[in-house]
Symmetry: D3
Subunit: 207 residues, 6 copies
């Protein structure tokens, strides 16, 4: 993360080093938060150790499944910094117990899959380790892939908007969204009393 | 939802159809979100199937009780659209596990009263079906009705404000609110060492 | 809370009384929300009754532990007002079940430590009363005190910012924060392969 | 504005009177701010005295033309209150000199059409009194009426959104808006190399 | 501004120096922005040089008058920093030409009272130097002092809120404000057909 | 702008066409708003016709100079759409007369350099056409290039933040910014009583 600082050269004034660091952190954040920009939902299936950057990565995903042996830690305080790649930005909004969240962030204490479920960080704890949790995540992915891609992509975008805006703002946003997106194959098929047939969206992964 | 589109006539350009749809969705949202504008708290007691619009309706209420046989589904992706009447606007703010919420919204999967409790969507799962959950909701309503209506209505309004504003903004808002609303019968009765006597608020249901 | 009103004198017009009340409430809020302005985390360990102002106080803390005998009540509606010192501002953001929160706020109903855990208000219910919960809180405090104070103080500030801003705004904020705060003793020690030695921050308690 | 207070009856506690006042002010605001909800632009042409509520009304319009003899005053401090129907909400956002705005709001001083132009409140000062300014406004209205109603209504809605949101939020909003609204008669006519023919929007005046 | 850094001692790690700087800047900001927290309006009358911190100070005032010989400069870039005590926070919101504002902020170029008027920074350019501008400001202050203090203080607070919130949020805020503040001496006097008699507000200067 | 729609193929359902359009507009916006992401200030010098996209482009720049023969038009309503690449997002925030702005946006009327100055869109009208305005812009660029690049880049970033946030939020942001950026060559040179020597920032153009 401090290559940028080095780019300014030894003896650069500290402001320039800070400026380079800022650029590097922003670039790093953009990379790790790619799942959020992805048009379709991204499911994280974790097993074993999920530490530091691991938390940043799953925090930017839509759904999180954990194997029952998963072990988590928001460990950045152990290296002397505040977590800056997404953990502290996302977790207060997507979980349901700030007391537990702050405790974990201030102590870097390890926590189990069951703790993660209590925190509201994962929606499912899957017995059977990495294989089982991967299976469960793939099954979920297959279910989602069978739905209208326009409806799923719209639901994702509207939920992300809702996270960051008031209820009134989101109602306005979704009304405009659906003014554009209501004519779908689903509705056409439903009117024609036939099964809908979905082609993949011919858009790049991100929006 | 597409009557508005028809109002523009067959062959209207798609922009006009979209414009009419927008108006219709806004009107529909306003109707379904009436519980939020209601001055007094609104309690939803649900049993059996709570699907699509059912979720939109309960999301706009203050308190949600579910019979243990209740079955829920955010089913709009099944008809090819993003839920646009309130579900996606409200649920990220009033529940505590975004991973579970998104999973349910992307799959339209049915979920039980127990799942709804885990999500943080309902505050009580009542054994005994529709009759029992209605009883429980009415008992809660009676308790609330015994409190100072000015205090209850103020608490509702301040909580709705808190949901959509920062802590600092809400502290300012409630301070101004109470500068107007502190002289109540409750305080007068308390000073006079008598039981307070509450008359109903002579205001319309909404504010 | 109405001394300010009195300061304007008997017979002052009601607007002036309201103005004085506003000033008094703002001052009271500032006092009770001091834990939030404190540079280091503040842990609330509660036992017995936590009523009204007690809830305001713990809501402004970072972490909340409850003895298993703790009994809570958001009791302001019983005195005819909306809670105005922090409870209604903080709780919708730090807990995970608005249905339960509103129910408790509208009824002033007592709730147990277990209910508080279900609400997401406390992160730990400690068996053994006041002594045990104090011990647990002190142990947590000692763990936090062993970490880099710059990292812990930064984590607190960034989490408070995240609570009140969008994910994108918080990512920008933490990137700038760490541009300033990345050169710490922790990193220096890690590079020198020695144990870090933390001195206390020579700053006042609040920022 | 205090009929609502009376509705509660003589001797009602002050909190109830305040509650009724709040309802009345909100209703009054909704009426006076109707021009903002109107789908098409609303032009205010003023001559003579524009005082108090007059300012509230023109503040909610899209465009303001003043006869050169127009005389303005934000006169609410003279009746002992802060202007509460729109003046203080709108003017800081639609004008360009807060120093002048606050001076006028604190003193209730009369100001001329030329002052209003300096403040940024009106876009045109028309010599010739009421007749001339009405002519000018009607000419402007005719020009606007000759444009695509979908484009004009969309431009209004997007500008109102821009006033209240960040640049990034508005760019997202207008992108979704145009995803719905890009297929217009204008584009069709342009491709067919013919003059566009606009029918009125078959929507009610407000959205 | 770097005393705080020194407080950490020579050889403190840079993060601690940054932390101390942050505290110092926040304290400095709080001092210089006192005019904004002042209950009554604050008028800045300037003559001669208004440089750097001078701009920060007047930016936090309500009204700005300039002698025709006043000379301004946002000069912080000349000392290698971004202005951090209020200039960059306030000026984009209270003036009406961002192109000119940014030009002045990037170049530290001196600008005249006439330029300040074009920018929308001052509401009046007074010929006659310091004496004349002070007279004009005092005359304005006397006019304001003759108005209802509750109405003037309320107008100030509502305008500050409007600067930082949407139109809808401010309409709600002022409605609640006036629910508390409508019963004033002004209204009582008006009903009794007598001249209102205002006593000073018995509140401290800040709110 | 409708290539994206074509990418979905003839006969694609309208929702997919809308989805592609959305992606295309977002991409187009990102390209045209590049000046805002550029680390150093960008100056627009315009002469002749500045129409539609021309306004979008200059709106994203920091400073705007116009030749006295420049002619502007927000002409999107003439092609049946709301301007969606930046004009409507930026102009309400960077100019000082919404009445004039909306009038121009609803009519697509041409406006002169003098009108643009009255609107607050340009900071300087330069007599002498394209050559003269280019000279003036280059002179301004040279002046800015002589200043501390860290200070200028910081000033830009803080001003952009101020445009989109409250005063309190920007004061916090700039305090953290300067905690990172205060140690500059400017300060070092000033302490050493020598002229500062600025090297270019070794960062890419955007941040």
């Amino acid at each position: 993360m401090n290559q940028g600082g080095l780019a300014e050269g030894v003896g650069a004034d500290p402001a320039r080093t800070s400026f380079s660091m800022l650029r590097d952190v922003k670039e790093f954040q953009a990379a790790i938060n790619a799942p959020e920009r992805c048009v379709v939902p991204v499911i994280a299936a974790v097993a074993g150790h999920v530490l530091g950057l691991g938390i940043d990565i799953i925090a930017a995903c839509d759904v999180r499944y954990a194997a029952d042996d998963a072990q988590f830690s928001i460990m950045e305080v152990n290296v002397g910094i505040a977590a800056d790649i997404g953990t502290l930005a996302h977790l207060p909004k997507i979980t349901g117990n700030h007391s537990l969240l702050r405790e974990l962030a201030y102590t870097a204490a390890p926590f189990s899959a069951a703790d993660a479920a209590q925190l509201g960080l994962v929606s499912r704890v899957v017995p059977g380790g990495a294989t089982a949790v991967t299976s469960a995540a793939l099954a979920l992915a297959r279910t989602i892939a069978g739905k209208s891609p326009v409806a799923v992509a719209g639901t994702k975008r509207v939920l992300l908007h809702a996270r960051d805006h008031t209820v009134a703002e989101n109602l306005e946003y979704v009304a405009v969204w659906n003014a554009a997106m209501l004519h779908t194959e689903s509705l056409a098929a439903s009117r024609a009393r036939r099964a809908p047939q979905f082609k993949p969206l011919r858009t790049p992964a991100k929006l």
